[in-house]
């Protein structure tokens, strides 16, 4: 096989199609039941639900991508998760099969997407607190609207979209909070200047805003949730004004009755497989944190491994499509299926579009740059690691003994549970880096001048990533992993 693609979202699908068109033998796998990734999977009350036409549009795009890939000859497999990646060999597990399959390819493209950025605050573990992604999944799976009085708190261009969409489903959105500043004329001027080539993105943003206004959902800027209150589930939400770094301004707290709190502070790239493959990373909070280093053809520092889409920094679906194509063209050229000149020529318009998207993203940064205050909301009793039930107080106590990320983990067990640190690691590393002081770590770009990635030393990477990457990256039953053909020499190793 020439190209093995992990992830059937926009990035993976566009890459699979493009590569197969140039004659590469391509296999794509996705662990979900359907292809399309976050945005293009099945119709329904998905990401853009203003009217059926819009839902249809995203769905149609997904169908078109899948069709194009299949027509070009790519093989697409659902319900197949990749458990490990070493070199260009991947260990795959297909649901319902009793064993793991090893797939060897000349090139691997990792396009695993992103997940909700976890933000611990007092009450974040109460039933009734949902993440934006979780709320969408719930709505999609059960068609049940989460709660009857919903507060949305978050930031980013999508943060506008969620309340608008939920509203549309009949959810009573009582308040939407954006942690970033109210757009000013200078912001808008910058955004409009970058808007050239991004009309669709601009139109979407404006329409979400208009929908909220139309539905009379109050949208308040520079405010963040500080706490969810309730006995057995959310009964009230306390929010407060925040400064430019999203730090709470004392005395500005307000309390509002609600039964659901939906939190959407953006997304973080899925990096497990890329870390297992040994790729180099940089750090950019606004792209989601750890960001794999890629070259102009989306190749990582690991031989034969490329990456594309949100998994390389959260930029949204249009960028994911473009990056997927670049990765495919790069692989096709590397493997001799097309000439370098042909690859350059085909890539040119793609690069132009990506550059326009990037301009737009940067223009929006002053509004949505993630503030450090977001990781300072937890109180001593707040459970930071939900799997192992580790409170902030416990973490702080142990940080009197050590500031080493591994040691903190081993003393507290934070990050050792089922989610393997996906929910608590960012908070733990924020606590560590704050204590170490700015001199000993490259301050992650938690600032308005963001957009400039910080190169990471091994130690910084370890602190920010927390866990040593280990297979399997998805839980896998012992009976499925078990391989009786592996020789067991017993306790004696012949010498």
């Amino acid at each position: 096989m020439d190209l093995f693609v992990v992830g059937g979202g926009p990035a993976g699908l566009s890459a699979a199609g493009e590569a197969a068109r140039h004659g590469l033998r391509v296999v794509l796998v996705d662990e979900r039941v359907t292809l399309g990734g976050q945005i293009y999977r099945q119709p329904g009350p998905g990401f853009v639900v203003r009217d059926a036409r819009r839902v249809g549009r995203d769905y149609q795009r997904g169908v078109a991508l899948v069709d194009a890939a299949l027509r070009a000859g790519a093989e697409l497999r659902c319900r197949t998760s990749v458990l490990s990646l070493r070199g260009t060999t991947a260990a795959c597990l297909t649901e319902g099969r009793g064993h793991v399959t090893l797939i060897r390819a000349r090139r691997v493209l990792v396009a695993p997407g992103a997940s909700d950025r976890p933000v611990p605050f007092p009450g974040w573990t109460l039933p009734g607190v949902v993440t934006a992604g979780g709320a969408q999944a719930l709505v999609k799976a059960s068609r049940v609207a989460p709660g009857s009085r919903l507060v949305f708190a978050g930031s980013g261009p999508l943060a506008l979209a969620f309340p608008a969409q939920l509203r549309h489903l009949g959810v009573h959105v009582v308040l939407a909070l954006e942690a970033g500043p109210m757009p000013r004329v200078r912001h808008l001027a910058r955004i409009l200047a970058a808007g050239w080539g991004n009309a669709a993105l601009l139109r979407d943003a404006l329409s979400y805003r208009a929908q909220l206004v139309e539905a009379r959902v109050p949208l308040r800027y520079a405010r963040a949730v500080v706490r969810a209150e309730g006995e057995d589930r959310v009964e009230a939400v306390v929010h407060a004004a925040v400064d430019a770094d999203w730090r709470v301004i004392p005395g500005t707290e307000e309390r509002l009755d609600a039964d659901t709190l939906c939190v959407g502070y953006g997304f973080v790239p899925s990096t497990e497989l890329l870390r297992l493959a040994g790729c180099r990373f940089t750090y950019d909070e606004d792209l989601g944190g750890l960001v794999v280093e890629v070259d102009a053809w989306q190749r990582t520092s690991a031989e034969g491994v490329s990456a594309a889409g949100d998994g390389t920094g959260v930029r949204g679906a249009p960028a994911a499509l473009g990056q997927g194509r670049l990765a495919a063209l790069g692989a096709a050229a590397d493997l001799g299926a097309i000439t370098q000149a042909r690859a350059d020529e085909l890539a040119r318009p793609v690069r132009r579009r990506l550059a326009a998207k990037e301009r737009f993203r940067r223009a929006l940064l002053p509004l949505y740059a993630v503030g450090a205050g977001i990781y300072e909301l937890a109180s001593p009793e707040t459970v930071v690691c939900r799997c192992e039930e580790v409170t902030l107080a416990r973490l702080e106590e142990v940080m009197e003994a050590t500031l080493d990320v591994d040691a903190v983990k081993s003393y507290t067990r934070a990050g050792m549970g089922l989610c393997q640190g996906r929910n608590c690691q960012r908070q733990v590393s924020a606590l560590l880096t704050r204590r170490r002081g700015p001199s000993t770590y490259a301050a992650p770009s938690l600032s308005v001048t963001a957009g400039s990635a910080v190169a990471l030393s091994e130690e910084q990477l370890a602190t920010l990533a927390g866990t040593t990457p280990r297979p399997p990256v998805r839980p896998a039953p012992i009976g499925v992993l078990a391989d009786d053909s592996v020789p067991d020499q017993g306790l004696f190793v012949g010498g």
Partner: protein
């Protein structure tokens, strides 16, 4: 949880000490503790954080039963005397662990659950029966279980396993907190423990008129010492080589699988007499499964990486012995670096060629580390009632001639 405080580990490094210990694993920390409470001036230097190598990455099981690697193959009669010595140490280690939480005034997560060693074949069962006799004689309580007795006692074991020995004093403790607790109490007793101070070399002084025989050169300067203890675990041979010592030790990466937590299925620690398996269900319900499967070496400070076949091979043995594990999901794996000796015996004592230079590396070091530390400390303070056996000498030739057989615990 009893942990040393950050500021206590970060102070200046003294320039002079009676004893300098290199290595802050369980061996080094426990020895520092026993020396300090005996009033000896001691400095411990660790290149990174305390307890981040073998001592903090092991499975935490107590292995008190005689393991197959303790047999030389020369027959029970030939091995008997030595095995009896081993058993006496092992049962002393068992009593010491029973008392350790009290001694250190710390929760070390000690769980005495009992331990099973299973046999798959009649030949293996025969070894179990023989070894159990020696254990009895040496004062370690064990019993042989077969047939219906075994089924009733351990219904979770595969039905076709022919037998097992059971040792009620086996169990496990929490390796993540044990060495740090020793370090905290050592500091209380006056030891200087310093982290992030790699030792580059131990230089022997020709002129000991000042009392010092060595200069320990480290990342932050130099430290004169009367005695040096090399407790650098898998890296001990590297340090010793510069002094012309060839320790009978090698580094090996060992693999461990961790599963999601499940309702209580089994209490005892389970191992296999003839295959690579140790497994237990820890207090929080997760299964910790190892047994000596290899991991891929990486240059320090990178962590050893995982061999896929170790995960899948180890899983196969686990399922073979406890079939109900088949649907339990592995959520994580890890690898630790183990210092093994060819004959699996501890490497403990002073080198005749380099008076004042001690080595302290124990292969089943979680089980035996605290006991050996207390014995070595007694020897170093000349208060010993039990001598560390000469067979443990770092100068020894391996017991197994030619080192033809090598064994690994887990």
């Amino acid at each position: 949880m009893l942990l040393p405080r950050r500021q206590d580990l970060a102070g200046d490094v003294p320039t002079d000490s009676d004893v300098v210990i290199v290595g802050g694993g369980l061996a080094g920390c426990a020895l520092a503790y026993f020396l300090a409470v005996a009033g000896v001036e001691v400095v411990l230097l660790e290149r990174a954080e305390l307890n981040r190598e073998a001592s903090g990455t092991n499975a935490g099981s107590f292995h008190f039963q005689i393991a197959i690697h303790q047999l030389t193959g020369a027959g029970w009669d030939a091995d008997r005397a030595r095995l009896l010595d081993d058993v006496r140490f092992l049962s002393r280690a068992a009593s010491m662990w029973m008392d350790l939480e009290r001694e250190l005034r710390a929760d070390l997560g000690v769980h005495v659950t009992g331990g099973l060693m299973v046999a798959e074949t009649p030949e293996q069962l025969d070894i179990l029966v023989q070894k159990q006799r020696v254990e009895r004689e040496g004062g370690l309580e064990t019993e042989v279980l077969t047939g219906a007795g075994l089924r009733t006692f351990a219904p979770y074991l595969a039905e076709d396993l022919v037998g097992a020995t059971y040792c009620p004093s086996e169990g496990y403790a929490n390796p993540l907190v044990t060495a740090p607790a020793f370090a905290a109490r050592a500091i209380e007793a006056g030891a200087a423990v310093r982290t992030h101070v790699p030792v580059w070399e131990v230089e022997r002084l020709e002129d000991h008129s000042g009392g010092s025989r060595f200069v320990v050169r480290h990342a932050r300067g130099a430290l004169r010492a009367r005695r040096v203890v090399n407790a650098a675990g898998a890296w001990a041979p590297d340090l010793a080589r510069a002094n012309g010592l060839k320790l009978p030790l090698h580094a090996e990466g060992l693999h461990v699988n961790v599963t999601e937590p499940r309702a209580r299925l089994l209490h005892p620690v389970v191992q296999h007499i003839g295959r690579r398996l140790t497994l237990k269900q820890s207090a929080n319900g997760t299964f910790i499964i190892g047994g000596g499967w290899p991991a891929r070496a990486e240059p320090w400070p990178a962590r050893y990486s995982i061999r896929w076949t170790s995960m899948t091979g180890n899983a196969a043995v686990a399922r073979r012995v406890v079939p109900a594990l088949a649907d339990v999901r592995v959520i994580h794996t890890w690898a630790g670096v183990w210092a093994g000796s060819e004959d699996l015996l501890p490497v403990v004592g002073e080198s005749a060629r380099l008076p004042g230079y001690f080595t302290f590396v124990v292969p089943t070091g979680f089980t035996l580390g605290p006991l050996m530390a207390s014995l070595l400390a007694e020897q170093m303070t000349l208060s010993a009632t039990t001598r560390v056996p000469l067979e443990y000498s770092p100068d020894r030739a391996p017991v197994f001639a030619g080192g033809a057989r090598r064994a690994v615990p887990g």
